[in-house]
């Protein structure tokens, strides 16, 4: 069973994504911020990390860089509801940083699931 970590500072979104993925048959863990995620990275190995970009304590871009360094096999999916940083958008930046896919918030469930499946099956 594939293990997925979802990082977002919005508990509702964490809850939503967990529900969706669990229902689809994935093992899901959640972290509300970067520090919590760091702890989980030490204890577990994830097939996929879904992370928000704009977060209070630790920026998503930092997490992506860290994952690319410490766990290169882990797939990364960046999600964001924000616009863009000059001159590139948050998601563009995430892709540039190393995210394997991006999804804009709000998303349709099927869209998210498609992306997840694509990442885990390749």
């Amino acid at each position: 069973m594939k293990q997925i970590l979802v990082i977002d500072d919005e508990p509702d979104i964490l809850k939503l994504i967990s529900r969706i993925l669990e229902k689809a048959g994935y093992r899901v863990m959640t972290a509300e911020n970067g520090q919590h995620a760091d702890i989980l990275f030490h204890e577990h190995l994830f097939d996929l990390v879904i992370t928000d970009i704009v977060m209070p304590q630790k920026e998503g871009l930092e997490i992506i860089l860290q994952l690319r360094k410490n766990s290169p096999d882990t797939k990364i999916l960046a999600i964001s509801g924000g616009g863009k940083l000059e001159p590139v958008g948050y998601l563009d930046a995430a892709r540039a940083t190393g995210a394997h896919a991006i999804v804009k918030k709000p998303f349709e469930i099927s869209h998210l699931l498609n992306k997840v499946e694509q990442l885990l099956n390749c």
């Binding site: 616009g83 998601l91 563009d92 804009k104 709000p106 998303f107």
Partner: protein, 1004 residues
């Protein structure tokens, strides 16, 4: 004029005088000639007329006489006593006697062709013919003819006893034929009576026509006239012009010519009148009717008549007029002689008059000369008696001339002088040669000097009885010479002590002939060195042509006007220095030579001062003429004395002369002028400047220019205030700049505001998305969890729908704040705009007329296709929604444009001189107020009803345009419509590569 003619002929008076004498005389001569000519003419004519008449009468007499003779002869032969016997008994011896008588008669007369007796039966009884060769001879029996049927016999038979019948001329017809040659004859017949007084026959005399004519000389002509004899029917008996006499004998032939056929008019007059004379254009006709028979011989003798006509042809009449040429020649030559004579006379008179005048004139001239000559002229006898003195001499002797004459030297002069003078006059008289003398005569204690000539006056070579003395007072000359000498000394001192260098040079050669001390100092040469050098050597060596020119100018200037104009040049010093000098040359006569006197004034100090002054002036001029400010000076009377170029240009390009002397009141409105005037007055009264006054200048075109004015008093050398100088800085540009700044600031503020709003909305969007994510997500999960038929599913669908609208709104906010990722590619705008318009066609109402002007150009624009389409869609949607009343016209335009400096200044995102694609969407809607324009791009600003629009459409456009490094501008007129233009930069050649490489980077 012909040189041989006397010159007096040129004088009009001479010609006039000649004419006055000549013309009347000439007129008399012409009249006399005319009179003489006409007299001769009428005399000739009269003579011709009289001759003609005389001829006619002569001939008439001749004819009458001839006829008388014949009639007498007829009577004679008819009354011979033997005749009745002969008639009754022809062939008797008695007949022989009658024959003899008749023969002797015929021989005596020689002109009777036949003498006959015819008995009452018409038979010739006796006939004597006459032949010029044979003489008279009787015709014997067998040749005697029966004449009973002849007309003359019939006529004669009927005659009264004493009547005589005369046949007209008729041809001699014998035996019924015309005898040839024609022998026209006159037949005279008379009855022969027997002793009982009964008619027993007739006696006939045949008279041949030709001798008749010859006898009367009728065929002859006079000197001029031609005589014609015509019968009463007008046939010519003689004198026919073509010799067709006897025309009546040839009736019906061309020989039957009459006088009437030649002269019809004349014939009428001749046949009507008995006699007379007239002239027609054919000539002179003189005529008389002739009754040849004596009145007692025939009872109807008045029916038998002829016309005797004398004819002088017109051409003949013309030849008999006196020769005109003679008279004309006579008149002409007489006139010519008279003319020449008159001219000679008047010329002579004129010459006399002239020579008299000349003499009088000469005398008057001599008199005047003599009277007014300042020379003393005295004529005296050798012994000192005054004979004549002129006014000057009389004045010298202090006595009127008339009193002097007759006096002696001794009466008027001192004894010493008398002695000297008498010696001289006597010497001259003795030698007969003139002498000269000089005298010093004291008059009124003044010594006067005289120079005199004493000369003899003699008409021939004899010794003179008169002596002339001519004395000139030369005192003044002597004095003048003294003054000259003094002057020369003074001049020499001036020359030597002059503070200026002076050179003397010979005009023709240019060789220096003299120089003063200063000249020596100026050149570093001694005066001896200078003299003999050429004038041009004074000038610096490197300027030989200037030197030559300067010398020439000085020389010609001095020669022409006496003194040359000052010229500036340099003088060379021996050590090479050049000294600036001003040269003035005078021409003068020195030692009989034309000399140039040149003064060289050292002007090096002046030159230095001048160049300093010039520098200052140039600096001042540069400042005043280049400063963009009004600089002006006015005098005490507030009149302009100077205005700089800027001021003049602003004041309608007045020339300095036009402005000079004017006051403010001549230029500006009164109120403005009052202000300036009081300011000027304050400055001049207080002597203190006025600083930084804000004023306005009113230009001729009515424009008010704000200026900052400083006014200062102008002082003269004495420290008195002489006027005012003013400098007015033009503030209009500054004000314009301030205005522009304000606008820019506003623009900036506006864009800041929008950017701030963008950032804000970016943050809001982020949070919104985070909020929306669980809403949408959980609703979807909930819907899936419920059975599809559940009514709750529909409710959740509504939630989902609302959430999705919110999602779209957030997307728009993000676009506005340029936080939406773009897909920038170089591409052309034309297809994008056309696609958008196609798409729009479905949503724009049909009441709106759409126009598109898409300019075709190949240039690429770096843009996001969907965003460009969104720009067009949003602008068009706003535009058609803004149009509420007809006409509704929506115009979409695309063109290529280049940004000018002004537009660039107004919009910081537009680069000057860069090409841009300009998309303009124009409507004819209600337009906007300025405050509306300022807010139109603000997010959530809408003029639509609540719920109709989000207020983000234009904000999104704004965001997109900014995201493309473009600019958006708005022009709107309330009530007319709005035009929104979007400028997107056109790719230049280098840019695409740069952007491509960026994209490649981002792909990794």
């Amino acid at each position: 004029m012909n040189p041989i003619l006397p010159k007096e002929l040129k004088h009009p008076r001479v010609l006039l005088q000649s004419a006055l004498i000549f013309l009347p005389l000439m007129a008399v001569i012409v009249l006399m000639s005319l009179y003489s000519y006409s007299g001769a003419l009428s005399r000739n004519m009269k003579e011709i007329r009289e001759t003609a008449q005389k001829n006619v009468i002569d001939r008439q007499q001749c004819v009458i006489k001839k006829f008388g003779d014949i009639v007498q002869d007829l009577h004679f032969i008819a009354s011979l006593p033997e005749v009745p016997d002969v008639l009754e008994n022809p062939g008797e011896a008695i007949a022989e006697r009658v024959k003899k008588i008749l023969i002797s008669l015929s021989n005596a007369k020689t002109v009777y062709d036949q003498l006959r007796y015819i008995d009452v039966g018409g038979k010739e009884v006796l006939r004597i013919n006459y032949d010029s060769l044979k003489g008279a001879y009787p015709v014997t029996e067998p040749h005697l003819q029966d004449k009973s049927r002849r007309y003359y016999f019939a006529a004669a038979a009927q005659l009264e006893t004493n009547d005589v019948y005369i046949s007209p001329f008729d041809p001699n017809i014998g035996y019924g034929e015309l005898g040839r040659p024609y022998k026209p004859s006159l037949r005279f017949a008379k009855s022969v009576l027997d002793r009982y007084g009964e008619k027993c026959g007739i006696a006939v005399i045949d008279f041949p026509g030709k001798p008749f004519v010859e006898t009367f000389g009728l065929h002859g002509t006079g000197q001029h006239n031609k005589l014609m004899l015509l019968n009463n029917r007008g046939f010519y008996l003689t004198g026919a012009p073509d010799n067709n006499n006897w025309g009546f004998m040839f009736p019906g032939t061309e020989k039957a010519v009459t006088f009437a056929s030649h002269f019809p008019d004349e014939w009428n007059r001749i046949s009507d009148a008995g006699d007379g004379q007239f002239r027609t254009r054919n000539g002179l006709f003189t005529f008389k009717r002739i009754y040849p028979l004596p009145g007692n011989v025939s009872s109807d003798s008045d029916k038998f008549y002829w016309h005797m006509v004398s004819f002088v042809p017109e051409n003949r009449l013309k030849t008999i007029v006196p020769a005109k040429l003679d008279y004309i020649t006579f008149t002409f030559f007489t006139g010519l002689i008279l003319f020449v004579g008159t001219l000679a006379l008047t010329v002579r008179i004129e010459r006399n008059r002239h020579s008299r005048k000349d003499l009088e004139k000469l005398a008057a001239e001599i008199q005047a000369f003599y009277d007014h000559s300042p020379t003393l002229i005295i004529i005296c006898s050798p012994d000192g008696e005054y004979l004549m003195v002129n006014k000057a001499a009389a004045a010298f002797l202090r006595m009127p001339p008339e009193k002097i004459i007759g006096k002696n030297f001794a009466d008027l002069l001192s004894p010493e002088l008398v002695k000297v003078f008498l010696e001289r006059t006597r010497k001259v008289a003795a030698t007969n040669t003139p002498i000269t003398a000089k005298d010093h005569i004291k008059i009124n204690n003044c010594e006067r000097h005289f120079h005199s000539v004493i000369f003899p006056i003699s008409s021939e070579n004899s010794y003179p009885s008169m002596i002339g003395v001519s004395s000139v007072d030369i005192t003044d000359q002597i004095l003048y010479q003294n003054v000259l000498r003094e002057n020369e000394a003074r001049f020499r001192s001036l020359f030597e002590d002059s503070p200026d260098a002076i050179f003397l040079a010979d005009t023709s050669s240019g060789i220096i002939t003299g120089a003063n001390e200063k000249a020596s100092a100026l050149t570093g040469l001694t005066r001896n060195e200078l003299v003999g050098k050429h004038f041009t050597s004074l000038y610096p060596e490197d300027q030989p042509e200037i030197a030559a020119k300067s010398f020439r100018e000085n020389e010609t200037g001095a020669r022409k006007s006496g003194t040359s104009l000052p010229t500036e040049s340099f003088v060379r010093h021996k050590d090479g220095r050049k000294t600036p000098v001003e040269i003035i040359s005078h021409k003068m006569r020195l030692d009989n030579r034309d000399t140039i006197y040149s003064i060289f004034r050292d002007i090096s100090i002046r030159k230095k001062a001048e160049s300093e002054l010039l520098e200052k002036t140039i600096m001042l001029e540069t400042v005043t003429e280049s400063v963009p400010a009004y600089i002006y000076m006015k005098n005490k009377n507030f009149r302009y004395t100077f205005t700089n170029r800027y001021g003049l240009e602003q004041y309608d390009h007045l020339s300095p002369e036009q402005l000079r002397g004017k006051t403010d009141y001549d230029i500006f409105p009164e109120a403005t002028a009052n202000l300036y005037h009081s300011a000027d007055k304050t400055v001049m009264e207080t002597g203190k400047p006025l600083i930084n006054m804000e004023e306005e200048v009113i230009l001729p075109d009515g424009k008010n220019v704000p200026v900052l004015t400083n006014k200062f008093p102008l002082f003269n050398k004495q420290g008195e205030i002489e006027g005012v100088i003013g400098i007015s800085m033009d503030l209009s540009e500054q004000k314009t700049a301030e205005e522009q700044n304000r606008k820019l600031e506003n623009q900036l503020r506006n864009s800041h505001k929008l950017e701030t709003l963008g950032t804000l909305s970016g943050g809001i969007a982020h949070d919104f998305n985070n909020i929306l994510t669980p809403i949408i997500g959980f609703t979807e999960i909930a819907i899936e969890a419920l059975p599809p038929e559940s009514s709750t599913v529909q409710d959740l669908q509504a939630v989902l729908k609302a959430a999705k609208r919110a999602k779209k709104l957030v997307l728009q906010m993000l676009t506005f704040s340029r936080q939406e990722p773009q897909n920038l590619l170089p591409q052309q705008l034309q297809p994008l705009i056309r696609e958008s318009l196609d798409f729009l066609r479905h949503s724009i109402p049909s009441t709106v007329r759409t126009e598109q002007f898409i300019e075709e150009f190949d240039n690429m624009i770096m843009c996001d296709a969907s965003q460009v389409q969104q720009i067009v869609m949003n602008l068009c949607t706003n535009a058609w929604q803004a149009m509420e009343t007809e006409p509704k016209t929506l115009t979409v335009e695309l063109k290529k444009t280049t940004i000018d400096s002004f537009t660039a200044a107004m919009h910081k995102n537009l680069k000057e001189n860069r090409p841009y694609a300009k998309i303009t969407v124009r409507d004819t809607g209600k337009g906007m107020e300025k405050n509306e324009i300022d807010r139109m791009f603000d997010p959530f600003y809408t003029t639509k009803e609540i719920g109709e629009g989000t207020g983000l459409g234009l904000s999104v456009v704004y965001g997109i345009v900014r995201g493309h490094n473009g600019e958006i501008t708005v022009e709107s007129t309330k009530g007319k419509g709005t035009s929104v233009s979007v400028f997107l930069p056109i790719l230049t050649k280098q840019q695409p590569q740069k952007n491509n490489s960026n994209e490649t980077d981002s792909g990794h």
